[in-house]
């Protein structure tokens, strides 16, 4: 087998494809990349469809050694990347040769990086998806939800570089720098159980990301909001749902959320903003802004249009072996 050998797995590195869909009936969550925007760009840079399997690297520390010729790209958080000890730019594809060592440092802004490879990592799906969900013990290289381990081989195809290296246009690269985000919210679910005053408190307050935040949900801390009801019959939970338990501190439920739950919910964070939230480190801050479902649909359509119509740029300063240049420049193009 050929591929990228895991020399060091890093802090928490998980193979993810676009997610596990259609399995809620047996209680399975969706998994998939927390920052779906960074994920799709990583795949696009490698010439993949947006559903190909890439590695979600939380914080960093992943070290790989290639046994083949291919291309890789790292997007997402500002994680210093080197190829054979030479700094390499993020949001851009690089040619990799057998024996090349790909090293990720630790994030300086943001917290989730996405490492894609040409053709996608070849990982057998379980329930139609390679996405790793540790809580459910499903997916990933060993199909049992285990994060990457030292010594494993991430299988990929040999891809001779015929397109040259490419980069995401600078204006489309997100800035994860200030550890804060504005999250747009479609009101829904039990929103009527939150009085106008409670909603005003919610939408005018700043909330901080706590340490108890993970792929299941981000627990926030700030002004307490109190619904008029304490619990509900357990019901289905969608991505981004904002749940308010008895302590009045909101929790935004993410990709590995449990599929049903009985806490009152105010609505759901727009999917386009989930990645911004998931890139925050503990202590990062968020504010919320209400939008209508029609606005949400327009924003989604616009985003899709922009992604499909954006052109990648050829990297003129890349050398044929992909070890770059100007690489002295920051990981952000």
């Amino acid at each position: 087998m050929i591929g990228l050998k895991v020399i060091q797995p890093g802090i928490f590195s998980l193979p993810q494809d676009s997610g596990r869909f259609g399995q809620h009936a047996v209680g399975l969550t969706t998994g998939g990349p927390l920052d779906s925007n960074a994920f799709r760009w990583a795949n696009r840079l490698c010439g993949n469809g947006v559903e190909a399997t890439a590695i979600e690297v939380t914080i960093g520390g992943l070290v790989l050694e290639s046994t083949t010729t291919t291309q890789i790209a790292l997007t997402g958080a500002d994680i210093p990347l080197t190829i054979n000890k030479q700094p390499a730019a993020l949001w851009q594809s690089h040619t990799i040769n057998p024996g090349d060592r790909i090293e990720l440092g630790f994030a300086t802004a943001g917290s989730r990086g996405y490492l894609a490879v040409a053709g996608g990592f070849q990982i057998d799906p379980i329930f139609n998806s390679a996405s790793t969900v540790p809580r459910e013990a499903l997916g990933g290289l060993t199909q049992d939800g285990t994060p990457l381990q030292t010594g494993q081989l991430l299988p990929c195809e040999t891809v001779k570089d015929s397109r040259g290296c490419q980069a995401v246009p600078r204006h489309l690269v997100p800035d994860y720098g200030n550890n804060s985000a504005l999250l747009r919210v479609v009101l829904g679910y039990q929103q009527e159980a939150f009085s106008n005053l409670q909603k005003q408190v919610f939408f005018t307050s700043q909330y901080a990301v706590t340490e108890s935040s993970d792929r299941m949900g981000y627990r926030l801390k700030g002004s307490k909001i109190t619904p008029s009801i304490e619990g509900i019959l357990s019901e289905g939970i969608c991505l981004g749902a904002i749940q308010v338990p008895a302590d009045g501190q909101p929790i935004v439920l993410l990709n590995d959320r449990q599929t049903i739950g009985g806490y009152p919910k105010l609505g759901s964070v727009l999917s386009l903003d989930i990645g911004k939230l998931a890139q925050l480190m503990p202590g990062g801050t968020v504010r919320f802004e209400a939008i209508s479902v029609e606005q949400a649909h327009n924003l989604l359509a616009l985003d899709q249009h922009q992604f499909l119509n954006a052109s990648l740029e050829s990297t003129l300063d890349g050398t044929p072996d992909g070890t770059l240049e100007s690489t002295a420049k920051s990981s952000k193009p």
Binding site: L233, C238, L239, T259, I260, G267
Partner: protein, 237 residues
């Protein structure tokens, strides 16, 4: 006929939730199951997934292919087609779900909370075991963990609150009671329900087809087996 209690609310940018009432029960469980089945067909391409639960159905659609008004229309249509399962023989299979029988080895050996539950209820262990088997349960929801089916409703005589301190490890197959719900743990996990026995049948097996022996809306009966049969069926103590 559909009842006026049903409401459709927005859940998020790609989800609507249908509420069928305030209290779970057999009639509502069958309405949830019927609506889910109809929407699977009528929404097909634009449907991403459904989450049926006690008295609600979350409908997740692809917002790049449709919008919430069109999905609402499909939901209203499905609701207007709901039949009253008591009065419609032809729909019985669909609305009442399958009847699934699950074997249970009830004992203090396999159910460490059986004695305490019996004591708390002022019953003998034998009475608790008999009462647990008398009810035909409905699968109200599946969630919490893969394959975890919430069954209701437990006879009030043997309903018991969750343990004050949840266990770190509840074994796979543990048959448990919490308030008026009962369940079989599909895998070893932490848990705070009262354990009264063990079921040798796998409730969730990724390699099996179907993955689970039950789905939401099905009916479940428990049947006592002895230790010998439990072990013969592959049970482990």
């Amino acid at each position: 006929m559909s009842s006026p209690q049903q409401t459709i609310s927005i859940a998020g940018e790609n989800s609507l939730i249908v509420y069928f009432g305030d209290k779970p029960g057999a009639a509502i469980a069958s309405q949830v199951a019927q609506t889910a089945q109809q929407l699977r067909e009528s929404l097909s391409q634009v449907l991403i997934d459904l989450i049926p639960s006690y008295a609600s159905l979350l409908v997740i659609y692809n917002p790049l292919q449709t919008d919430h008004n069109a999905v609402r229309k499909s939901i209203r249509h499905a609701l207007s087609n709901l039949t009253d399962d008591e009065n419609n023989e032809s729909n019985k299979g669909q609305t009442q779900g399958s009847l699934v029988s699950l074997p249970v080895y009830y004992s203090t050996e396999s159910g460490p909370d059986l004695q305490a539950l019996a004591d708390g209820a002022g019953l003998t262990i034998e009475q608790v075991i008999a009462i647990h088997q008398q009810t035909e349960y409905r699968v109200y929801a599946i969630g919490f963990a893969p394959g975890f089916a919430y069954l209701g409703e437990v006879d009030p005589r043997i309903a018991a609150p969750r343990l004050a301190t949840p266990r770190q490890k509840v074994p796979r197959g543990a048959v448990a009671i919490a308030d008026r719900q009962t369940a079989v743990y599909p895998a070893q996990s932490p848990g705070g329900w009262n354990l009264i026995g063990l079921c040798p049948q796998r409730m969730f097996d990724p390699n099996a087809n179907p993955t689970m022996p039950v789905q939401v809306g099905d009916r479940v009966r428990f049947e006592a087996i002895d230790k010998h049969i439990f072990l013969a069926l592959g049970g482990e103590l």
